[in-house]
């Protein structure tokens, strides 16, 4: 296996992180969190990839043919569900923040410090 998918996953994670650190909009920040999360999809799918493998569904292919790892696909599915829950909850919090404070700028939320 080449190193490329791992580097790509690391890059996506860092890009998402950079976006969150420098974000001036909470919707953008939550979007960047989703970007960072998608690095896990890339990494997991890359880990399960088999050269020349097909989808691990044995309905129309002979038993014993090369397939990609079905375990990581189950992991990614679970990960998608977890990510959707987290993103939905965080976005609903952002909507409420906008309603209460009238701003989406994280730098303007200064109620908690010290």
């Amino acid at each position: 296996m080449t190193l490329l998918p791992f580097l790509a996953a690391g890059w996506i994670f860092l890009v998402g992180l950079y976006g969150m650190v420098t974000s001036r909009n909470l919707v953008h920040a939550v979007g960047c969190l989703a970007v960072a999360q998608s690095s896990t999809y890339v990494l997991l799918l890359a880990v399960g990839y088999r050269r020349g493998g097909t989808a691990p569904v044995f309905a129309d292919i002979p038993v014993g043919s090369t397939v990609v790892d079905p375990v990581v696909q189950a992991l990614v599915l679970t990960d998608v569900v977890v990510g959707a829950t987290v993103t939905a909850l965080l976005l609903s919090l952002v909507i409420q923040i906008r309603k209460r404070t009238g701003t989406l700028d994280p730098e303007a939320l200064t109620g908690l410090k010290g």
Binding site: A9, V21, A29, V86, L93, G114
Partner: protein
């Protein structure tokens, strides 16, 4: 009687089922029926965990979901593994859930009309996440349960959507924790790439055939970071005071009492089963790193705790200080320290939850949690005040509280490793206990001169909090004082009853027995581990407990009554303290800026530092 291995999944399934029931039936049932249903489910879970705790004995209860056991050393099944420490933590969570349900019985007097069951349903979901996390033997499941408990905690923190500060705290909490959790998933992916396994024991067994290299160190750091974020280890701790300051009081009781400690447990469990074997992360590298992080966390927590006037933030920073001590205790990789830390965690949970509960009484009465504004206003709450001061003493390690016994055992083991660690234990528990005593004396006793109102730009005052109840004219609900009292009594019982200590010691032995864990999961037999460490009070433990308690009283008394001293004497004292305050404390407080970007920056810095620290020690 049910087979214990069949009961193990029930402890996760029961609260999940209860939560689903409450969401569906909650809007049809009256409020009392909702509370009764939630309490019944929580009590049943508690009972199941108690039975499991008794029957687990010195060994482990192993349960393969759906009967998918490993074949020829390979497995695709998912395993739950309960030993005394894991089951004990789940039991602690379940007991606290019952306490919180009782505490908040009349707390939210007007739940939203159409979602009457939502608060107890979220509590039960939270419980399911915590129990699952404490009992899982599978790394990917640990991530899923981690996120489940995380999501519930974010939602519970931001439960009061009318106010902007809880929303802010919940968002920071959610973003920081979730990002770290995705890092963990990357780490799990790397481990799967290396070993082809997801079970902790299976990965641990497979890693013995590989070499320690950059991939393993990266996987270790990524996996452990989210646990350290949950455990609020410095510099990953910034979310905790913000979330605790704004979360509803019952939620603070749970988060400080058990959720944060689960992060410490997760760190130790993952290292102990996955990375501790041959060709893993060497023990000395782990010890040094964890003790370093622990000491830093304990000191930062103690200093910041002393500075707070917002009572919930004060308690939150004291939790950070104590988590640092727990990290040291479990980082020593010594059964004595593990037993002591486990007792310390249980005692701390009772004490801290009680203290948060009593702050909730103040919030209920006065709509404020500000130490300065509440000066003397808690005088009529005699019972609550007495309990609060007792809680402060227990927090500082007063014998014979469970916190005192746990601290004595852990600091003895730490002192054998390095003498100065004992001083850290004494100092941190004295300062955090002293801060609580100071606040208690001022608020409930009206002691000393009223503090001058300051409007510094570096702090959060506790004024202008939304009271969590609608009608301040009614009396304080009885449960709001009784539950903290019972929790403190439980903390006391842990230090007094010799059976509790013995059981925890046996659990600590099983926790440190990596070979036994691997053998139990794969179905092999392992040699019996050495006998459990003793957990009785010793003379030196009693003396050190009394010392830290005395120091706490001295600190509190000095803070409360010194301002009344003549101005000349004060000036002498201020001269050396001024620069220390200006150059050390103020910058430290400014770091806690409340800004999401800063916290994520610190998360990145912390991960990089961890990577360098572990990598350099190979």
């Amino acid at each position: 009687m049910l087979d214990p291995s069949r009961m193990l999944p029930l402890t996760v399934a029961l609260p999940l089922l209860g939560a689903a029931l409450l969401v569906v039936a909650g809007r049809l049932l009256p409020r009392t029926a909702n509370d009764v249903l939630a309490t019944a489910v929580a009590v049943t879970t508690c009972a199941a965990l108690t039975v499991l705790w008794l029957r687990a004995g010195d060994g482990r209860v192993v349960s393969w979901a759906g009967g998918w056991r490993p074949r020829h050393g390979e497995s695709v099944g998912i395993v739950l593994v309960g030993d005394r420490l894991g089951i004990g933590l789940a039991l602690l969570a379940a007991v606290l859930i019952v306490a919180v349900l009782a505490y908040s019985w009349r707390y939210f007097d007007e739940p939203p009309e159409r979602h009457r069951g939502s608060f107890p349903a979220l509590l039960l979901l939270f419980e399911a996440g915590m129990c699952g996390f404490a009992l899982t033997g599978d790394l990917f499941d640990a991530f899923v349960f981690f996120e489940l408990m995380g999501v519930c905690a974010y939602a519970l923190t931001g439960y009061r959507v009318e106010d902007s500060r809880p929303l802010h705290g919940a968002l920071t909490f959610g973003v920081v924790n979730s990002l770290a959790a995705y890092g963990t998933l990357l780490g799990i992916g790397l481990l799967y790439a290396r070993t082809g396994e997801l079970g902790m024991a299976q990965i641990g067994a497979q890693l013995a055939g590989h070499h320690t290299d950059a991939l393993l160190v990266t996987a270790f750091v990524l996996t452990v970071t989210s646990m350290l974020v949950k455990a609020a280890a410095v510099p990953f701790h910034f979310w905790l005071p913000d979330a605790h300051a704004v979360a509803p009081t019952p939620v603070c009781m749970l988060m400080s009492g058990v959720m944060v400690e689960l992060g410490v447990y997760g760190t130790a469990r993952i290292y102990g089963t996955v990375f501790a074997g041959p060709h893993g992360i060497p023990a000395h590298a782990y010890q040094h790193t964890m003790i370093g992080i622990g000491v830093l966390t304990a000191l930062v927590g103690a200093v910041m705790c002393w500075q707070q006037r917002h009572l919930k933030r004060l308690l939150a920073f004291s939790t950070i200080g104590h988590t640092g001590l727990f990290l040291i205790g479990l980082g020593l990789l010594d059964p004595h320290a593990t037993a002591g830390t486990a007792l310390y965690v249980a005692g701390h949970a009772g004490t801290k939850a009680a203290l948060f509960g009593l702050v909730g009484v103040l919030l209920d009465r006065h709509g404020s949690v500000d130490e300065h504004a509440l000066h003397g206003r808690g005088r009529e709450l005699r019972l609550a005040g007495g309990l609060f001061l007792l809680g402060g003493l227990a927090l500082s390690g007063l014998p014979p509280f469970g916190t005192g016994l746990g601290k004595a055992l852990a600091e003895h083991a730490a002192g054998e490793y390095a003498g100065w660690l004992t001083a850290v234990y004494v100092l941190v528990s004295a300062v955090t206990g002293g801060a609580v005593l100071r606040a208690g004396l001022r608020v409930f006793g009206g002691a000393g001169p009223a503090p001058r109102r300051s409007h510094a730009d570096i702090e959060t005052s506790g004024e202008g909090e939304e009271p969590e109840v609608r009608d301040p004219r009614r009396a304080v609900p009885l449960t709001m004082t009784v539950v903290p009292g019972l929790l403190l009594a439980g903390s006391l019982a842990l230090g007094v009853l010799p059976g509790a200590g013995r059981a925890v010691a046996a659990g600590a032995r099983a926790f440190g027995d990596r070979a036994g864990y691997l053998a139990d999961v794969t179905g092999a037999h392992a040699a019996l581990p050495p006998p459990p460490p003793p957990t009785a009070w010793t003379g030196s433990g009693l003396l050190l407990g009394l010392l830290s308690c005395g120091l706490a009283i001295a600190f509190a008394a000095a803070a409360v009554w010194l301002p009344a001293a003549p101005e000349r004497a004060l000036r002498v004292l201020r001269r050396p303290a001024g620069p220390a305050h200006r150059f050390a404390v103020v910058p430290l407080r400014r770091l806690h800026s409340g800004l999401l970007g800063d916290y994520l920056m610190w998360l990145t810095v912390g991960m990089a530092a961890l990577l360098l620290a572990v990598g350099a020690q190979l």
